[in-house]
Amino acid sequence: MSTLFELELPPELSAKEPLERRGLLRDQVRLLVVSRWTGKVIHSHFVRLSDFLARGDLLVFNSSRTLPASLTGWIGSDDFRVEVRLAEHLSDDAWLALLLFRAGDRSQTRLRPGLIIDFGQGLQAQVEGSDSTNRRLWKIRFSKCGTELLDLIYRLGQPIRYEYAAAPWDIDCYQNVYSTEPGSAEMPSAGRAFTWKTLLQLQRHGVRIATLTLHTGLSSYMDDELDREHPASEEEYFISQETAEQIRDAHQTGRRVIAVGTTVVRALESAAERSGFVEPGHRYTRLTINAGYPLRVTNGLLTGLHEPAASHLDLLSAFIPAEKLRKAYEEAVRKRYLWHEFGDLNLVV
């Protein structure tokens, strides 16, 4: 799959630290507002989000909690160190994971089914085989399951961090204030800027709020070539009867449904694929959304700023023509907006 458009993204535009670690609040990021229809760009601030929302608009959040999904393990008697990044919890209770070795380490080539990875504290995993659809992922099965495994993941794991993070920020920096059930490999970061104060103010303004759960996979497989191909990943999601009804009600009364994050778009559009209406339930999705995809549920999107190669950008092109998006992004670079999970936000309505 080709890149939607080329964009020179200077490295200093990667947000390196969470605002709350600079004595500010999460909600003090900037907001780039882009009209889906005209491409018109307005530069604002996230705390003014309600200026761009109407009474009755329904904001849908992904309440999935971020796991400390990076585990350090050792293989065999030679003690090869491996970083295991959990990507997806499979329905048969195994996991898909990215296994990363230190640069130059030849252990990568020795990976084979049957290998045992030892994490300490009594936790091990057996490598069952490579994934059939994504060449960088391996299927592994832990020696523990359920609550006991979750407990050990929390005791042993670290949040997945990328090279632009200025310090090993703790898991709270990678958690949305409204998150509940754990399961995401990486933070659904479009919601990171929301504080309780903003949420309560929006409700006072008449904006309605609904939640769903989609456990996110990895945003990068640490392989530029593969990342550019945007391999379709499978993600687990859950939509309650209540949320499905709120969405139906919004549509029937002509109000907008605005997704907080691309994960919410994916969950809602997946749940509506069969009947055109959001069907509640617990399912897995492999849906790919890109330019020309007929959005059935979502009318708008609040999201971060994405790298040109990211699959999220393809998803944005279902909301707004690529050319208009390119112009908005070029302006965001000129105006020094910040990218990635600790960065500024983009509202497309």
């Binding site: 309440s63 909690r65 796991l67 609550t147 979750l150 407990d151 929390y154 005791r155 703790d170 898991i171 709270d172 958690q175 204030v177 409204y178 998150s179 509940t180 059930e181 754990p182 399961g183 309780w196 309560l200 409700q203 006072r204 939640t211 759960t213």
Partner: protein
């Protein structure tokens, strides 16, 4: 017997004393699920066995966590909300530590011990409430903080413990004010003197038989955890003076 029908409840400090008794009484009142947290899991195993005797169908989740450590609190709520499918109805912030026994005067209080008590008794509940709210905000919930007489009167020799409870009472008021528009209620309860390991350590020269059994003080907690107390928030209760009638708000 079913005043807590379908409620999902998290109790900190549940391995002994008041926390253990609350687990038993909440189970008797029909709670659907209990997440019980303490620093040592062996004692929790025993409480679970006792709970299962009074309520064989209840779901019980045991979580070993030290509430003076923020990462433990994140782990505690991740596990509880995983088990409870993202929903929590009641949080009882019961865990607290006394500090050194016998309790030193403030002038003699070791700084590290002072900080440890404030961490466990004040910062712990602060973080626990933050992490409980997402699971309560949609459907409503009840937060009950356990305080003490030493949280409104500065007794000589009650050192960090009393100060932490003053903090907890102030914090409870602030939370209640901030959550006024929501369906989440915040109240705090002074259980009074009870014959527990903590109270015996606080006043080792006193005769513990004069103090209440924890089983005698749980009525107000059941009331606050149940829907009977709907609309009741920002109030301080004294468990040993509580009668259900007195607790109810006048009907309009």
């Amino acid at each position: 017997m079913n005043r807590l029908n379908r409620k999902k409840i998290l109790i900190t400090g549940a391995s002994q004393g008041l926390g253990r008794q609350l687990a038993l009484d909440f189970a008797r009142e029909g709670a659907a699920a209990l997440a019980l947290c303490a620093r040592h899991s062996q004692a929790l195993d025993k409480v679970r066995d006792e709970v299962m005797v009074v309520a064989p169908d209840i779901k019980v989740v045991l979580i070993e966590a030290d509430l003076s450590r923020p990462l433990d609190i994140e782990r505690l709520f991740a596990i509880a909300l995983h088990e409870f499918h993202g929903r929590l109805d009641v949080l009882v912030n019961n865990a607290s530590m006394l500090g050194p026994s016998p309790m030193p005067y403030l002038l003699d209080y070791p700084l590290a011990e002072f900080q440890a008590v404030l961490n466990a008794n004040l910062i712990g509940p602060f973080l626990a409430i933050r992490k409980a709210l997402p699971a309560m905000i949609e459907h409503g919930g009840s937060i009950i903080n356990v305080t003490s007489d030493a949280g409104i009167v500065g007794y000589a020799g009650w050192g960090a413990y009393g100060i932490s409870k003053f903090g907890l009472e102030g914090m409870s008021q602030t939370w209640a004010a901030e959550l006024e528009e929501s369906k989440v209620r915040v109240n705090w309860v002074d259980p009074g003197s009870m014959n527990t390991a903590m109270h015996r350590a606080a006043e080792p020269d006193e005769d513990p038989s004069q103090w209440a059994d924890p089983a005698e003080v749980t009525e107000v907690f059941i009331y606050l955890a149940s829907d009977e107390s709907e609309g009741v928030t920002a109030r301080r209760f004294q468990a040993q003076e509580f009668t259900p009638r007195a607790g109810r708000m006048p009907k309009h």
